[in-house]
Symmetry: C2
Subunit: 129 residues, 2 copies
DNA sequence: TTGCTCCTCACGTCACGTGAGGTGGC
DNA sequence: TTGCTCCTCACGTCACGTGAGGTGGC
């Protein structure tokens, strides 16, 4: 959970490939909040915070609004030995995310086909079919 | 190319699953322009116009700005028996699109893994790993 | 003390969503 | 003539990008 070491926002940005602005915006909307701040106001992230940023980044392609990703990660984080209530909530959110995953898969397939049909024009420059 | 029949924007929206606003916006930025208008100002789309809308929609998941998709479709449309200039341009744009396709593939894989790791918590509600 | 990193506004941008008020077309 | 579909503004939204001006920390 905590090993005593903290990370600054620049470290998190480098580790995840996100911009500082994005990480700050995600805090603004409550998606990822740093566990601490220095006296001067510098954000301090634990390893768990960084993992949450990375999870959020990886889930983004699903195309859900960031608010939905926030709910999903909140439900996931609150599951440590909880009663069945949180589990039901999490299950519903995971189902929703899996629906988005299905849609994403078919969109990617359609994109691949579209790109292939355009690329075909390079080998067969006849205009029509 | 043309069969004499034209389609109104509502038909195009229903056929492609896009909103009227999206189709109008795409015209605003020069992505898809209807081939004609009625006297009263109603947009008229040919089958080729509709195909272009559908291609643009399918390419969207690649994550390129709409301006890049416009260039790609323009280069593709201008390839009917053209000299090698357009072919070079098209090749470069297709290469760029294929790069985006690669990135999309790895993003989807990461999203699938992330979602699976969250879903695992439902079968193994121990909090840790 | 000098850099480098961080901070908070705050306006700009992209790709639309969402009415408001009005007119075309079978 | 009545609906239904379309039209053009024009402001709102989401997820940031991009400076402006200022301060923290090794």
């Amino acid at each position: 959970m905590q090993d005593g070491t903290f990370h600054q926002i620049g470290d998190v940005a480098e580790a995840t490939g996100l911009s500082l602005r994005t990480i700050r915006y995600w805090e603004e909307i409550g998606l990822v909040t740093p566990s601490g701040r220095t006296e001067g106001g510098f954000r301090l992230y634990t390893d768990a915070d960084v993992e949450r940023v990375q999870l959020a980044k990886n889930l983004k392609p699903l195309g859900m609004p960031l608010e939905a990703i926030t709910e999903l990660l909140d439900a996931h984080a609150g599951l440590s030995g909880e009663p069945a209530r949180h589990s039901d909530r999490l299950r519903a959110l995971v189902d929703l995310a899996e629906d988005h995953m299905q849609e994403l898969d078919s969109k990617v397939a359609a994109a691949r086909d579209a790109l292939a049909s355009i690329a075909t024009a390079l080998r067969n420059p006849l205009g029509g079919l």
